[in-house]
């Protein structure tokens, strides 16, 4: 009898392994292996350089910028996570939504936002020039390493904020309180109690941010200028512009190898038992800052976050309703005027083009795809997070495999998808699914990394108490674990949603023309000259921002309303 029971358990366990494994095998390993195999069957590129010469420079720069970016992101993100977790202040909910938005923006739009703010004629320079009577813009920001780092901080701070912040807010304050009563200074409490307790989420966030920076493409290309190239940029250049597939494949493998090492390192550092603590529901621990020190601290941190993360968004939105153009091709003394012309123009197909995208349709497509991505990646992510609870080499190997898609060259994978699923794209109906599947592949590691620490932190006793009270395994999950995991699930859902909403690279490769998404529509505008095109790109970006902000706010409300 007992053997029968364990056999059925084994079968269930096997089936649960099978789903995420099949997903990764079919949509990750297979296309990747196919494209790299194909590349090595092709003639070598004309460059004739030694391959090490091709690899070394971008590799060095990639590691350098990724390390610096990650460090800066943590520097901004950790205090922000602490303030968000511990203090109540007016506008907190809004700030939390706004700080998530950078994540969704296509790089081309971010570049425009930064330009509107920090460019030669951006607001900052205009203000400084006016203030100090300068003839040349004092801030030379674009096309520098600084721009790359700032953009990475802009993009990735939300990862730290969400992944670490959600766990931080659930930490039992009594632990820190008891350490305080034992005579520890606040600083020592932070170092000896709080941060060690947050080790898992901090590591997860660091790994995610690092990998994101490591494979950075758009930011380097658009904001870094021509002087900088990461591995990913080099891969894209080689594959797409020089048609040198072999070098591109070698670079992809190098990148993959680095990802593997980073992941193994992460696993090694993160090893050790996860401490299960009675989870506290978020919102329980935050309070108003009371002392002037606390107020100052909260104020400074919020200000930094607003300046870094929110002002470029505001600049973008402002730009979508501002007309800076002189009327007649003459520049003389123009004043900015408010206009809704760009939004109106979105609704007209001026050229009767077959590729015209009505904004509502783009919103609907993006929304539909993002919703599917949320479902797919959360189902797979939940199964995986639970599977990763068990021990053994299989778990450790799977843990690494899960992270690899993040560190894989998007260009290479995109080409692999085309090679393997090209025919599928042609088939109406089925071809549609490739885009959400590709997005899910990107979102999946995020979801797993967000869910896993939360799953691990649920005390087993709660589940046992529920089953003793008569709850079946499904009921235990649904009625006890899920409500406790709700916050982490919501964070994952937001990540999956925003990743999908903002994804552009894979979408252009894989989307059928019938289903253009918002970023595709944005790109169609900004790739042509003309004030209306630029304005429409800004307007479409603002729509993207607002759709996402509304969705995130709704998700958050859902989570808090039921708590």
């Amino acid at each position: 009898m007992r053997s029968a029971r364990t056999a059925s358990q084994r079968l269930t366990s096997l089936l649960l392994w099978a789903l995420p494994l099949a997903f990764l095998a079919v949509f990750y390993v297979y296309p990747l292996a196919a494209v790299i195999g194909q590349a090595f069957r092709m003639p070598p590129g004309d460059g004739g350089q030694h391959i090490w010469a091709v690899v070394w420079k971008p590799l060095r720069f990639t590691v350098l910028q990724a390390s610096l970016s990650t460090l800066l992101t943590l520097l901004v993100g950790m205090p922000a996570a602490a303030v968000m977790a511990r203090f109540k202040f007016p506008g907190k909910r809004l700030l939390r939504v706004l700080t998530t938005l950078p994540f969704i923006l296509p790089t081309v739009v971010v570049a425009a936002g930064f330009n509107a703010l920090l460019g030669p004629r951006g607001w900052v320079n205009l203000a400084l020039m006016g203030l100090f009577n300068l003839t040349d813009p004092p801030v030379q920001f674009l096309n520098s390493l600084g721009a790359i780092l700032l953009a990475h901080v802009f993009y990735n701070t939300t990862i730290v904020l969400r992944v670490v912040g959600s766990e931080w807010s659930r930490l039992d304050t009594r632990l820190a309180d008891s350490a305080r009563t034992l005579g520890a200074t606040p600083w020592r409490v932070l170092c000896k109690v709080t941060l060690p307790l947050l080790k898992q989420p901090i590591l997860a966030a660091t790994a995610l941010v690092f990998l994101f920076n490591f494979t950075s493409f758009g930011v380097i290309l658009l904001l870094g200028g021509a002087g900088f190239a990461t591995l990913e940029v080099e891969i894209a250049t080689r594959a797409l512009n020089l048609l040198d597939f072999r070098s591109a494949a070698v670079l992809s493998l190098v990148q993959l190898l680095c990802t593997l090492m980073i992941t193994l390192g992460y696993q090694r550092v993160g090893r050790g038992r996860v401490i299960s603590l009675t989870p506290r529901i978020s919102g329980e621990n935050d309070r108003k800052p009371v002392t002037w020190m606390e107020r100052l601290w909260v104020g400074v941190v919020v200000l930094v976050v607003v300046i870094l993360l929110v002002t470029p968004l505001v600049a973008l939105a402002a730009r979508s309703v501002t007309k800076l153009e002189p009327d007649r091709g003459e520049r003389g003394g123009f004043t900015p005027r408010i206009t809704l012309a760009y939004y109106q123009e979105l609704f007209t197909n001026r050229r009767q083009s077959i590729f015209y995208v009505p904004p509502i349709q783009a919103v609907a497509n993006s929304f539909l795809i993002a919703s599917i991505v949320v479902v797919i990646s959360l189902v797979l992510g939940f199964i995986t997070a639970y599977r990763l609870q068990s021990g053994g080499w299989a778990r450790r190997a799977f843990d690494v495999l899960v992270m690899l898609p993040m560190g894989t060259s998007a260009v290479t994978l995109g080409l692999g998808f085309i090679l393997v699923f090209g025919r599928v794209i042609m088939t109406l109906g089925i071809g549609f699914w490739l885009v959400p599947l590709a997005h899910s592949l990107v979102a999946y590691p995020f979801v797993v990394r967000t869910l896993q620490p939360a799953v691990a932190a649920i005390p087993p006793r709660l589940k046992q108490a529920a089953s003793v009270l008569g709850a079946s395994p499904w009921q235990v999950w649904y009625r006890v674990e899920l409500p406790i995991l709700k916050r982490a699930a919501m964070v994952s859902a937001i990540f999956a949603f925003t990743i999908s909403m903002g994804e552009f690279g894979a979408t252009t490769f894989l989307a059928r023309p019938e289903y253009p998404t918002l970023p595709v529509a944005i790109y169609r505008f900004i790739s042509q000259p003309g004030a209306l095109n630029y304005g429409q790109a800004m307007a479409m970006s603002t729509i993207l921002l607002m759709v996402c902000a509304a969705s995130i706010a709704l998700l958050e409300r859902l989570e808090q309303g039921e708590a």
């Binding site: 460059g47 425009a112 658009l222 021509a226 040198d244 077959i354 090679l419 599928v424 023309p513 095109n533």
Partner: protein
Amino acid sequence: MLILLAACSPANAPEDARRQLTIMTHDSFSVSEVVVQQFESENNVQLVFLQSGDTGAALNRVILTKANPQADLFYGIDNTFLSRALEEDIFEPYQSPLLADVADEFQLDTGHRVTPVDFGDVCINYDKAYFSEHDLALPQSLADLTNEAYRGLLVVQNPATSSPGLAFLLATVAEYGPQGYLDYWSDLRANDVIVVNDWETAYYTNFSASSGQGAQPMVVSYASSPPAEVFFSEQPLDQAPTGVLAAPGMCFRQVEFIGILKGTANLELAQKFVDFMLSPVFQQDIPLQMFVYPVNTNAALPDVFVRFGDVPAEPARLDPAEITVNRDDWIQDWTEVVLR
């Protein structure tokens, strides 16, 4: 999930009842709905356009899948990529009768594996207001750009990542020769030329006459950009805010081609489509859709192109075969001189 997995084996793709003709294109491809409908109803066929990234990405896709082609035709290959594509032997030759209306200068492939459709000139655009405000004379040649007067005023694109960037590099190669162009570029560098990776950044972030309000009054763009600025302005303009430096040798002409992909099951229909693309209906639709010029001499230009457009009389020229052989070396050498 089962449906999805089933969908993964390409053999299972069901056939659509109505015939489909699939055209792989780059992202910049565009066409009017009525034009598409005309061809569809005349031939009882559904046209499917697969936009697959920029020219390089789309060509990549065609080359990677040449054993198992995903489209019947490929539109968008230009003369900078032409020889490379021909080397891959991916096209089915077809000589359209309508080529009689196309100037010889566009018919770069004598084997007719590809058919020219449109052309555009990559030229430096300038900010008219800036030059008049600063009382600055317009550069009359590539050599003028190295003058102190224009220090830091020009933004170009990285030829390794940008199609107009490559075209402009080729213009300098045509002007100064494979031996001299690097000296010219080191002079340009000494004169603080700005290099960015893509057209979007160059135009909308750096160029002072665009909506981005950048710092450089000169940008490498297209000869058709001024008409586009007029067409896409917020209110009617009687003058374009930007102009084109179209002096001899300063522009590089890009010709775009369509080719029938080997292995197509719809050869006859594909040939009809090539004819259709050369017909005046399609050719006259081209300028406002893609902001390039039609190759068919019988095609009438829209008013905005007639009034604000400027076709350079003597663009720079290079043999496509020479481009293919040297392209990577030129780009790499350029990278060493300009970026390192």
